[in-house]
Structures are given as structure tokens and as C-alpha cells.
């Protein structure tokens, strides 16, 4: 039996460009049922774009996809969903103005409707059952999504992706938002899904996590596939080398020690956000966007807000004094929310 025979999802020579930027270039993958497949790469390596094409969020420019050896060409996430492919996206994917229950079943309410009227009670029961049956920490079902924490939102997105019982579950950077307990619960859930023969496409910047979870790992760099390798035969150092394209002797991420001799471009002191005091943050690295912790991402969001209000913003990433006129130009993480508004402190 060849790999092609056992592949539940096959991606052949797929490419995608956004204007002049070639996000994904001629990537081919053979993905098997009953495996957890890690997808890693630096920021901008094309991971999310590749997954978005599989999930029907973006249309590909060229190439083809096959699911269970049949042509697979979803025009929308809903169509992908109908064909057994669900994705929890990296950015927040809930409608803030709807309740948790409404978000979980948005676009699928007909199953609860009788003569056009939705049975809210039954819908709420199904939502509660979904949380319980998948062992996911419950979230207030009648709360508006806009009032939830980022972690709760990600839990809801996960539950929304699961009730359709997908053959292929795509998780893009989901664990970054999770507490230790919810991570452990997720790992158990993924093991359960794997044993049921599902394919899980798993993206994370945490290489040790990917190594521990995945059966195979595909490395992307600058939109191109570098290689696919067995996780059991790989190591963090090897993955770092493949991601960056050169030998990385110590840690891949910049550390305070490496920054010690550099002048800080920004000092924020005594800022309180949602009751958490963040004493001092300094950063002069070009690699701020590779921070692993969401807490730090929030901090960057917060700083961006402060700067954009106070001094029209300085580009935090590149240590330059160029003015930032738009969010896209700042290219910070996509989780800017009003809860990160500073209450006290100074920059």
C-alpha cells in the first residue's frame, strides 16, 4: 500500500500569492488518517495560508487538493465543513455580538428550527453536551462572545469545530491561548481523535509541544516546503535548523541575555491591564513577533495602542522611527481588544 493510498488529504503543487507576496509556493503534502501532523515554520513561512486554503478560507491560485482520493475544492469554510474539514483559526473567529451558544451553531441553526423558529433551549443543551462530551472546560453559554477571555474564545472555537465530527481537524496556534490545564485536556482530546482515525493538522511555535504530539512534521520556509519528517526521528535543534535554514546552536528565540548589550527602544513601566501589573518591558529585537506567550502578545498590543495614541506610534519591530498609519502596517498580532486598554502607568 502506498502513501497515496492511505492519504486522507492530498495537496499537490499548491500556490497562493497576495499581490506581489508569494505566501505559498508549490507545496505538496500527503496527510494520513489517524495521524497528528505538525506544521512548523517561522512567521510568514506560509503555514496559516496553506491551512486556510485547505479549510476553504482562501482560494488557491494553482495546484489541486484531494480528500479520500476525490477532488477537494471548498469555496468556503462552510463547504469544507460539509466535507469533513474543520479549522480553528489563529485569529479570533467568533462573532462578538452573539452568545456562545449562537456562535457554536451559527450557520447550522436549521437543525434546531421548527417552522423557522429556533429552539434555543435545545440548542443550549447541545452546546453544553458538546463541551462535556469532548472534555473541554465549560464556558458560560449565554454570555456574549465579546465578553469572553481569549482562552475562552478559543475553547468555544474548538467546540464549534468538533460537533461536525470532522475527518480533518486543523488547529492553528490554538495552544498559545491555553492554560496548562486546558492544554493537557486538549492533548488528551487530540489523542482520542487520533485513535478514531481523524487527521489533525497542528500548528504551534512551541517546538517541544509539536515534537511530543505529532507523528510527522512538515517544515515550511518562505512559503516553500522544506521537508516532511518523522517526529520520533527528529529533534528541536534539527527543526530549528530546517526552519531558519542555518545552524542554530542555542535557542531559536532571542533571549534577554542576547539583548543585554543593546539599547532598549521602549520602556513601559507600571502599566496595569485587567488587574495585572506589568513592571518593565524592554525590547530591541527584530523578532518580537516570535514571542511564544500570548501574555506577551497582549503586552505588545497594549504598547501599540499606547504608542498609536501617544506619539503616532513607532515601529516596535524594527526599531525604526517610521510612522505607523495603520494596523496592517504595524503587523502586530491580531488580538487587539479593548480589554488591553491601559488603566494606569506610563511609557
Amino acid at each position: 500500500m502506498t502513501a497515496r493510498d492511505t492519504a486522507i488529504l492530498r495537496v499537490e503543487n499548491i500556490s497562493k500569492s497576495f499581490g506581489p507576496t508569494r505566501a505559498v509556493i508549490d507545496v505538496s503534502l500527503e496527510l494520513r488518517a489517524g495521524e497528528i501532523h505538525g506544521l512548523i515554520g517561522e512567521n510568514g513561512s506560509g503555514k496559516s495560508t496553506l491551512l486556510s486554503m485547505i479549510a476553504g478560507i482562501h482560494a488557491r491560485d494553482q495546484g489541486s487538493m484531494f480528500k479520500s482520493n476525490r477532488p477537494y475544492d471548498p469555496l468556503s469554510p462552510a463547504q469544507a465543513n460539509e466535507q469533513g474539514v474543520s479549522m480553528v483559526v489563529q485569529e479570533l473567529g467568533l462573532v462578538d455580538g452573539l452568545t456562545v451558544t449562537e456562535n457554536i451553531f451559527l450557520g447550522k441553526t436549521q437543525q434546531f428550527a421548527r417552522r423557522g423558529i429556533i429552539n434555543l433551549k435545545r440548542m443550549r443543551e447541545e452546546a453544553a453536551l458538546a463541551f462535556a462530551s469532548w472534555g473541554i472546560a465549560p464556558v458560560p453559554l449565554d454570555a456574549l462572545a465579546g465578553t469572553l477571555t481569549v482562552e475562552e474564545k478559543k475553547l468555544v472555537e474548538l467546540v464549534r469545530a468538533l460537533p461536525t465530527d470532522p475527518d480533518v481537524l486543523i488547529l492553528d496556534e490554538i495552544t498559545a491561548a491555553f492554560s496548562h490545564n486546558n492544554r493537557v485536556a486538549l492533548y488528551e482530546l487530540l489523542a482520542e481523535l487520533k485513535s478514531q482515525g481523524k487527521l489533525i493538522l497542528f500548528v504551534s511555535h512551541n517546538l517541544s509541544e509539536v515534537l511530543a504530539l505529532a507523528d510527522r512534521i512538515t517544515v515550511l520556509k518562505d512559503g516553500e516546503k522544506v521537508t516532511t519528517l518523522d517526529a520520533a526521528e527528529s529533534s528541536e535543534d534539527e527543526l530549528k535548523r530546517l526552519m531558519v535554514g542555518r545552524e542554530i546552536k542555542e535557542t531559536y528565540y532571542y533571549t534577554p541575555a542576547r539583548l543585554a548589550d543593546q539599547e532598549p527602544v521602549l520602556i513601559a513601566d507600571g502599566i496595569t491591564v485587567a488587574g495585572v501589573l506589568i513592571s518593565v518591558v524592554t525590547e530591541s529585537s527584530r523578532r518580537t513577533s516570535t514571542y511564544k506567550s500570548w501574555g506577551k502578545l497582549y503586552m505588545l498590543d497594549l504598547l501599540w495602542v499606547i504608542l498609536s495614541r501617544a506619539i503616532s506610534a513607532v515601529d516596535l519591530f524594527f526599531g525604526q522611527t517610521q510612522q505607523i498609519s495603520s494596523l496592517a502596517q504595524a503587523s502586530l498580532s491580531r488580538f487587539r481588544e479593548k480589554r488591553f486598554r491601559p488603566r494606569h502607568g506610563e511609557v
Binding site: 462573532v95 450557520g107 428550527a113 501599540w304
Partner: protein, 297 residues
């Protein structure tokens, strides 16, 4: 506050009769505002609502004179739904911002009303006038009684059907809604049609209440929108406490009480009362937008 007004107005404010008048005056704006909740929530800021109500009221009166109350309601509903559907089609197909296209449609509807009015006068008649016929729908207790089934229907449509759910979703986050397989254009269009239903019902009650409604031109119909708009904003600002459907009723009754109090206190209507209304729109907007401060767009 009410007591102060009551005393200042020579004890005429908190009487059973006056309270009845206040609620009665809130009925038509309530129906119009319920309709606007569907269109505005989905982002279709339609400024032709006033012109539609005037045209639909006249059409309701026209059919009412032929077929009685059934004609009155049918005429209002038919005109309201047709004109809002037409607006929805124009807004969505032209991609012109709805508030701009809405002004254009308002001018067209006002002109149609003016042409009809001129033709009626030239032929020796006048615009539809109900006289003493068909007036019960606009008077106590029937107009207030209409609020109860109205509130139930609007609640079901807005909170318990996929139409209402999709309208709310589209207005809150277009990107995610589209990703969930919902056609935003269809959702917005259906929101406009449902808006037309409530504008139509409001128009039928309006025609029954006033008996005769003269078409206006020069975009003067746009001023009609301020009271429902303020009620929408009041309802939105109270959404953490009340469902928006109930919030609308509270909003329209509050505004009706305010104008009633101003009238009893001798503030001239049409001048200072209008100033108070505009100031209130600004104030409520500031309050309802207060929570948005600091969001990075």
C-alpha cells in the same frame, strides 16, 4: 424627576389620561424603530425610512378606503415591504454606502409622493383622507394593544429565527459570519424586508392616527428618523440589561414622555423640542459609544 415635572406642569403629567397619551404617541415610533433594528443592526443605515412611512401611509389609506381595516394593514405592509426590498436591492447591488443611497431613495420617494399629491389636487381632490373612518387602529386602546403581538413577533424574528441571528451576526462581524457559510448580502436583504414589515405596520397605524398625511419634499422626511434613531441608540445602550426589543419600547416611551413633558412645560414644539431631540441624539450616541473608546480599528 417625574414628580418634579408633574408639579411643574400643574399636576397634569402623571395623570392616567396623560400617561395613556404618552404610550399612545410611542406606538408608531415603536413599530418603526423595531423595523430599523433589523436594518441598522446589519449595517444598512437607511435614511429613507421617513419617506417610506409617508408613502406607505398614503397607500395604506388608499386601500383602506376600499377594503376597510384589512386594506389599511395590507396596504401598509405591501408598500413597506416593497419599498424596503427595493432599497435593499439598490444598496446591495450598487455598493453605494447605504446612508448615501438612502438619501437618494428618500428624494425619489418624496418626489413620487409630491407627484401623487399634485395629481390629486389637479383632479379636484386631495391626498388620501380617512375622515372619521378607520381611525380606531391609531387610537387607544387598539394602538397600544398592537404593541403586545408586535413585541412578541419582533422578539421571535430577531432572537429566535435564523433571519435575526444572521442579521445580528453580519452586523457584528462580517468576516467570521461569511466564514460560517452565511451569505451576508442575503442576510442584509432579508433584514431590510423584515424592516419593511414593521414600517408597513407602523404606516397603517400612522395613517389611522393622522387620517391624512401630506407628502413632503426637500428631504424633510429625514427628520422623521431622529426619534426612532434615538430609541435604537437608547435600546443599544441598555442592551446589557434589556433585550433590544424591550429596550426599543422603553426608548420610545421615554422619548414620548420627554416631549409630552416639554409640551406641558410650555416648550414650543417644532423649535426647542427639536433642539432637545438633536441634543439627545448626540448625548445618547456619546453614551452608547463610550464603551468603544480605546478600540484600535
Amino acid at each position: 424627576m417625574f414628580l418634579i415635572v408633574h408639579i411643574a406642569a400643574d399636576f397634569r403629567f402623571l395623570t392616567a389620561r396623560n400617561l395613556g397619551i404618552i404610550i399612545s404617541h410611542a406606538v408608531i415610533p415603536t413599530f418603526v424603530t423595531w423595523g430599523m433594528v433589523f436594518s441598522f443592526t446589519s449595517g444598512m443605515i437607511d435614511l429613507s425610512v421617513g419617506a417610506i412611512v409617508i408613502l406607505a401611509s398614503n397607500f395604506a389609506g388608499f386601500l383602506g378606503l376600499k377594503w376597510g381595516y384589512a386594506g389599511l394593514l395590507l396596504g401598509g405592509l405591501a408598500a413597506g415591504v416593497f419599498l424596503q426590498a427595493l432599497n435593499g436591492f439598490v444598496f446591495l447591488k450598487t455598493n453605494i454606502p447605504p446612508w448615501v443611497a438612502g438619501l437618494g431613495m428618500a428624494m425619489i420617494y418624496e418626489s413620487i409622493g409630491a407627484i401623487y399629491s399634485n395629481l390629486a389636487v389637479r383632479s379636484g381632490g386631495m391626498v388620501v383622507t380617512l375622515g372619521s373612518k378607520l381611525r380606531a387602529l391609531g387610537e387607544l386602546p387598539f394602538n397600544v394593544l398592537m404593541l403586545v403581538p408586535g413585541m412578541v413577533i419582533v422578539y421571535i424574528l430577531f432572537c429566535r429565527t435564523s433571519i435575526g441571528l444572521n442579521v445580528r451576526a453580519v452586523g457584528s462581524d462580517l468576516r467570521v459570519t461569511r466564514q460560517m457559510g452565511i451569505d451576508p448580502e442575503r442576510a442584509k436583504f432579508l433584514g431590510m424586508v423584515v424592516c419593511g414589515v414593521f414600517l408597513g405596520l407602523g404606516s397603517a397605524i400612522n395613517q389611522s392616527y393622522v387620517g391624512q398625511l401630506l407628502p413632503r419634499t426637500g428631504l424633510s422626511s429625514v427628520s422623521f428618523i431622529f426619534q426612532p434613531l434615538t430609541a435604537v441608540l437608547i435600546a443599544s445602550s441598555m442592551s446589557a440589561i434589556f433585550n433590544v426589543v424591550i429596550g426599543v419600547v422603553i426608548g420610545t416611551i421615554s422619548l414620548s414622555a420627554l416631549f409630552n413633558a416639554l409640551t406641558l412645560l410650555g416648550v414650543p414644539s417644532g423649535t426647542w423640542q427639536e433642539v432637545v431631540m438633536r441634543l439627545l441624539v448626540i448625548l445618547v450616541t456619546i453614551v452608547s459609544m463610550g464603551d468603544e473608546e480605546g478600540i484600535v480599528k
